[in-house]
C-alpha cells in the first residue's frame, strides 16, 4: 500500500513516516538490522581470533589461519576444486536417481490404495530409520567403492520424496477431478492434467528436504566409507591435526547446501509460475 506521492517530502529525502516525526523503530530500518549483523559478526570473528591464538594449534585455529588455509587449498592448488567435483558428482547422481523413483512410487502410493497398503510398512520403516545404521550392511553388499556413496545418497533422498509426493497425491482436490470427469477425461488424461500439477508443490517440498539429506548422505558416505571428496578431506586433515584446513571443505559443504537450495527455489518458480500469482484486483 503506497502512500500518495508527496513531492515536497521526496525532495527532502524524507519518508512520510519520518516527516510526521513518527519514530520508525531502529530495528525495523534496514540500517538497524545491518548494524546488529555486522556487530555480531565482528564479535564472533574477534573472539575466534583471540581464542584461536591462545590454544593448542593442533586442536583449534584462529580465524586468520583458516583464511590462509582457504587461500592455500582453493587458490594456490586445485585440490579443493577436485574434491568439490568428486563429491558433487556422486551426490547429484544419487539425487537424480532418487527423483524419478521417488515421484513414481509416491504417485502410485497416493492414488492407489492397494499399492499404499502393500508398500507402506517398508516406506514408513525406512523413513523412520536413521539410514546411517545401514552403512555397514551396505558395505557388505557393495564393498567400499564409489557406488556405495551414490547408493547412500539415493537411500537418503528417495524417502522424503516418496512421502511428500504421496501426501500430495492423496490430497488432490476432488472438485478438480470432477472437472476432468465432466470433460470426459480418461485415467491417463486426468493424471496428466489434474493430478500431476496438483502434486507439484508437494514434490518440491520433498525435493527441498531431499537435497539436504542427500548432502548429508554424501558426507556420510565419504567420511565413513570411500574417504574421497570433501568428506574425505575433512577426515584427512583432522587425522593430521590441521584444524584450520578442516574448516575449508566444511565451509564449502555449507555453501553448496545453500546454493543448491537457492537453485531449487529458482527451479520451482520456473516450473510453477502460477504460485507467484497474487490477487492484484479487488473484487
Amino acid at each position: 500500500m503506497e502512500a500518495a506521492p508527496n513531492t515536497a517530502l521526496d525532495a527532502q529525502g524524507l519518508s512520510s513516516a519520518e516527516a510526521l516525526d513518527v519514530q520508525v523503530p531502529f530495528l525495523e530500518r534496514p540500517a538497524g538490522a545491518w548494524v546488529i549483523r555486522i556487530a555480531t559478526l565482528l564479535t564472533v570473528l574477534i573472539s575466534w581470533e583471540i581464542y584461536g591464538s591462545t590454544t593448542n594449534p593442533a586442536l583449534f585455529s584462529p580465524f586468520s589461519k583458516v583464511v590462509t588455509s582457504f587461500y592455500e587449498l582453493a587458490i594456490q592448488s586445485s585440490d579443493l576444486w577436485k574434491a568439490v567435483l568428486n563429491s558433487t558428482q556422486a551426490m547429484l547422481l544419487g539425487f537424480a536417481l532418487a527423483i524419478p523413483v521417488g515421484i513414481l512410487v509416491g504417485l502410485l502410493m497416493g492414488r492407489y490404495r492397494n499399492i499404499e497398503y502393500v508398500l507402506d510398512p517398508y516406506v514408513s520403516f525406512m523413513y523412520a530409520l536413521p539410514i546411517v545404521v545401514l552403512v555397514p550392511l551396505l558395505i557388505i553388499w557393495l564393498g567400499i567403492g564409489s557406488s556405495v556413496r551414490v547408493f547412500i545418497v539415493f537411500l537418503m533422498s528417495v524417502f522424503p520424496i516418496i512421502i511428500n509426493t504421496m501426501v500430495g497425491a492423496k490430497q488432490v482436490d476432488q472438485d478438480l477431478i470432477d472437472v476432468a470427469l465432466v470433460n470426459c477425461a480418461n485415467e491417463k488424461q486426468t493424471l496428466r492434467t489434474v493430478v500431476i500439477p496438483s502434486v507439484l508443490p508437494y514434490i518440491f517440498t520433498g525435493l527441498h528436504v531431499a537435497i539436504g539429506t542427500a548432502l548429508v548422505g554424501m558426507v556420510l558416505g565419504e567420511m565413513l566409507v570411500v574417504l574421497q571428496g570433501l568428506g574425505g578431506m575433512i577426515v584427512q586433515f583432522s587425522n593430521s591435526y590441521q584444524p584450520a584446513k578442516v574448516m575449508v571443505p566444511l565451509f564449502f559443504i555449507v555453501a553448496e547446501s545453500l546454493i543448491l537450495v537457492s537453485v531449487m527455489k529458482r527451479l520451482q518458480r520456473r516450473l510453477m509460475p502460477w504460485s507467484a500469482a497474487s490477487n492484484i484486483l479487488d473484487k
Partner: protein, 293 residues
Amino acid sequence: MTTASDSPDNTDDSDAVGSGTARSSRIGRPGAALEVEGVSKHFPKLDFPVLDNISFSVPEGGFTTLIGPSGCGKTTLLRIVGGLTPATRGDIKVGGAPSIGPSRDKTMVFQHFNLFPWRTALANVVYGLELDGVPETERLERAEHFIEMVGLTGFADHYPAELSGGMQQRVGIARALAVEPKLLLMDEPFGALDALTREYLQTELQKICAQANVSVLFVTHSIDEAIFLSDHVIVMGTKPGRITAEFDVDLPRPRWTYDVRTEPQYGELRSYLWSELEKELTGAGGKLIGMSE
C-alpha cells in the same frame, strides 16, 4: 431483441402462477434438451431416498431452475444429469439421446469455480477442447471467442489467483461453453460471490445464454435469482427429495432492459414461490431438518 429462450411454452394456455401441477405433458416432447424420467437415488446408509422418482424436462433453449432447501438433493440431481454420479433408477436423455456418464453434450459450472490454478484463464477455457484433440490454433481461436463472450478480453493470460471471484466464475462459464454443449448445468454458480457481483453476473449470464445456443439447468437457493433467470422453476422438497411444485415464469425477455422487480407479476411469483418453499421448511420435511414454525 428476441432471445433463443422464447420457447413455445410461453404461449401455454394454463396460467403459470399458482398452478403448481407437474407438467407431465412435457415429458417425451421431441426436441427437448433434457428429459429426466423417474430418476431415483438411494444412498446405502440412509433409509429414505435422496431423490424419489424425479421427472421433468428442459425444452431446447430453455432455462430451468431447481430450487429447494438444503438436503433436497438438487445438487445430487445435477451431478446425476452431469454423469458424475449414477442414478439408482431412472432414465436421462440429453438432446434425445440416452445419457449415462459424462459426455460432450453437457458441461458444468461449479459453485467454487474449480478452475485449475496452474492454468491461465485461456488455458482453462481451452481444457475441454484440448482433451478432445482439437488442433491448437483452432482451439485457441474458439477459446478466445468465448472469453470475449463472457467479457474477459485482455485477461486471457491471467492466472485464477489474479482474478476476482466474479471473473473466475466467468472463466468457468466460458470453459463450460467452449465445447458447445447442448446442456449447461450450473450448481449455485453465484453462491460464492458477494451480492453485488452476483446481481451483475445474473444479467451477464442472460446475455451470454442469449448469444450461445444452450439450454440451462440451474440450481440455486435464491428465490429472486430463480425468478429473474428462468423460464421454468421446479421446487423440490426434502426427505425424500422430490418435486413439490413447478411453474413457468412468463416475465418478458430480455429481462435486463427493465427492472423486473417492478412488474406486478414478479411479486406474485415471488410470494407463490416463497410459500411453496416455506411449506417445505416448516412442514414434515422442515421438522426433520431442524426448522420449526
